[in-house]
Symmetry: C2
């Protein structure tokens, strides 16, 4: 029938072509759509709902730690962007520029924000006077533009959604503590909500944020063993404050430049979820951010009592705080099974006339496919406990993938061989020189991922230049 909603069709095999598999999942799970502007995407309801659940978690954590949301202008005058030298060098090449307002050419062109350090600092230079005004703990949820040449759904957009936190502190110590606290909140999100284990570390000078003194990162490993930088937190020292003329009278009446941080996590994390947990039947969503945690599929729904029982069950599960969808459309159960598998719904509940007689239903796990008959008695607890099991199983599987694919190398050749034959993260010592970092990229195709916060403190030599080295570093191919 031509008016039938199109059935979910097969997707590319992930082991045959991971890139195409990824795109297929993004499109067929209805997460995203392309637009007529290259590199700009539409976040469709199902994709956006995942982001909303991530937002809800982070926003709560941000507020519990004293942060307030604000909204800054999306346009930044070119002169403002230029106030901090390293920052403008990093971002100007990928700015989109507004040059006309209505029919008039602007006197100064305005950049659509690629990030908002400059506008926060400009504002703070007006409102900060005394130690009583500090700390300022701000966050904003918005989209930013970066005019990149290539694009991929979630991973690289010209416009993407994110949150950017910006804070200002009286002391360096307090600012560093803040930077680390926010990294830990990102790590908590990944591990306890998204079932994605992380490596916490520091970026090298080459890889740190433009204008930052220090960039903290969490790095995740995808199913194909490539790295995804999933969230970053920056300590700026007081360089921006000085560039923007922000100063406060301290308790001794001394005019002092405060210390700044910023930290951001974007919708690229959705790409991470897909590439960490997905399989050949489509998306697999971690239960704690799944827009639908349990889908109820009636079997032989025209039979007496089936739909009524399904509606009652849906109400019961919702009342217990679960996100539930009852699909009572006239599509076949088989169509529905495939549809919600593609969409990665963690649990499917099937209920037909025979189940009803036995006061039971069928629960099917999306991750393992495991099917169990369970009593309708206490179904809320059974479902909740299975959702927790699924979270734990997804985390354990991803953790194993991470641990199994961190290799130690003692020479550049060895690092190169690991990268070519196995992929994953390669752990080495490093002398700290940019030259060696560039050589690793050139010879082995890997960038530095991070200097892990947990340093084993080994003394040895840099496998690239042979000079004494004591820093442990992770290398990898990254998205």
């Amino acid at each position: 029938m031509s008016t039938e909603k199109k059935a979910v069709t097969a997707i590319t095999d992930m082991d045959a072509d991971f890139t195409q598999w990824y795109t297929d999942v993004c499109i067929k799970a209805e997460l995203i759509d392309y637009t007529s502007v290259k590199g700009m995407f539409i976040y469709r309801p199902y994709g956006y709902a995942i982001w909303e659940n991530i937002q809800a978690y982070l926003d709560k954590r941000f507020k519990e730690t004293g942060h307030a949301n604000v909204a800054m202008p999306m346009l930044i005058p070119e002169s403002l962007l230029q106030k901090e030298k390293d920052h403008v060098e990093g971002f100007a090449p990928e700015c989109a520029w507004v040059t006309h307002g209505g029919s008039e050419e602007l006197e100064e062109r305005l950049c659509v924000r690629p990030t908002s350090e400059t506008v926060f600092c400009d504002h703070w230079s007006h409102i900060v006077h005394s130690w009583r005004d500090l700390p300022l703990l701000y966050n904003q949820w918005c989209s930013v533009l970066r005019w990149e040449k290539t694009s991929r759904p979630f991973l690289r957009h010209r416009e993407f959604l994110w949150q950017e936190g910006h804070t200002l502190h009286a002391t360096e110590e307090e600012a560093v503590t803040e930077t680390e606290q926010m990294l830990n909140i990102y790590a908590d999100l990944c591990e306890t909500v998204l079932a994605m284990p992380v490596v916490k570390g520091l970026k090298t000078d080459k890889e740190k944020f433009a204008g930052a003194e220090r960039t903290y990162t969490i790095e995740c490993m995808m199913h194909d063993k490539k790295a995804l930088q999933s969230g970053t937190s920056h300590f700026f020292g007081n360089g921006f404050a000085k560039a923007f003329g922000i100063a406060f009278s301290d308790k001794n009446n001394q005019l002092t430049a405060p210390f700044e941080t910023s930290w951001g996590l974007s919708t690229r994390i959705l790409g991470g979820i897909i590439m960490t947990h997905g399989d050949n039947r489509g998306l697999v969503l971690p239960p704690r951010i799944a827009p639908i945690q349990v889908v109820i599929v009636p079997v032989a729904q025209h039979k007496a009592g089936v739909l009524e029982a399904c509606h009652q069950l849906a109400g019961q599960l919702k009342a217990a705080g679960l996100r539930v969808k009852l699909d009572d459309s006239d599509q076949s159960p088989g169509w529905k099974f495939a549809e919600y598998e593609m969409k990665g719904v963690p649990l499917r509940l099937e209920l037909g006339p025979k189940d009803l007689e036995k006061n039971q239903c069928v629960l099917v796990r999306r991750d393992s496919g495991e099917k169990t008959f369970v009593s309708l008695e206490g179904i809320e607890k059974t479902a909740q406990s299975l959702l927790d099991d699924i979270h734990n199983a997804l985390f354990a599987k991803a953790q194993k993938n991470l641990e199994d694919n961190i290799y130690t190398a003692e020479s550049l050749e060895e690092a190169k061989a690991i990268q070519e034959q196995k992929g994953g993260f390669v752990k080495t010592l490093w002398c700290g020189e940019l030259e060696c970092e560039l050589k690793m990229k050139e010879e082995a195709g890997m960038t530095s991922r991070c200097l892990p916060l947990e340093q084993p403190h080994i003394l040895g030599v840099c496998p690239i230049c042979g000079k004494p080295a004591h820093k442990t570093i992770y290398w990898g191919v990254a998205y």
Copy 2:
């Protein structure tokens, strides 16, 4: 002391200079700040928190009525904007244009969205095929740009925050029902949450949204008797669908153009809150969206037991679901009283050593200044009930202001005299001709506000041209 946080200073008298009073409140209550780009503002934490409470209410109502959030690109190709003739004529003159990405000039310039009908329609033209795909009930929270010549905090920004709902329906009837449903949700927000009575009506053809067949509006009356258009809901017919080639196979396999609606409410409503409820001591916030509903001010806080009791009270009130701030800073109680009056906090709770002895505290209403001694026993219920009283009192006062300032006129001269001497809304009959609408503007300085949904169905003559008329219309001077 130069390091002391600056005390709240007096604001302009609202009866002497309402415009300056308004700006003073926006700045001194720390709702907003100016930026280096004309017409673009910073929503500061306190102002943004009010918006977040409005968002929470609306988002819940939108979801309860089946809507899902999405995110569309902020940039619209010029060719896409031009697809619907009336729409582009209305918006092109105030678009901001991106012409360069990085160092390259774009092949086609991109407009920063002034509104998103065109991108929603473009997307829908790809995904809509069958009646099974309808209705589509979408909303997005975002900011939009309109390059206007003049600007005022909240009321007229070049960039403002809003939500824009966009829906697509199989039938005209369903789309009209949706348009009216969303107007009613806006009216509920105003009346039951913001304590702002509304007049619901239809815009004239001259005043309707560019490209719409019909625009519904809610109009509020400010303290100075001017009108504020506070939310609008548009029925588009199937004109956009045809312009964008959106069609679906209906149940009879006929290819059909669906019907569209859109509806929006913006941060200009914050300007409405200020101008409806504010007074000469500053902002007065309706309790249901106040970021702080109860501020606790300790008196003689160095005395034994005072701060402990205040902390306990704060915990108790928070546990009861109230938004509470305990200000235990070292500012004087007098400083704090003025600060939270300026910020419009509905209830102040004072507690000192003597109160503690008597197991009581002092509650002071921001709206009336009324001060009562109440027992600490059951303080949650006392506070909640007072907050409800404040809501009702604010609504009743605003309702009286509205009702007292709607005047009936039977001639253009009479309308003009009312506008000059009294202000408010002038109610007349109207023949429906644009010419008369323009004449009212020219002669009496009033625009049409709306044709109220509740029409008294009087037959008479148009006071402007003298021809037969049966439509009742409201005129006014609007923000």
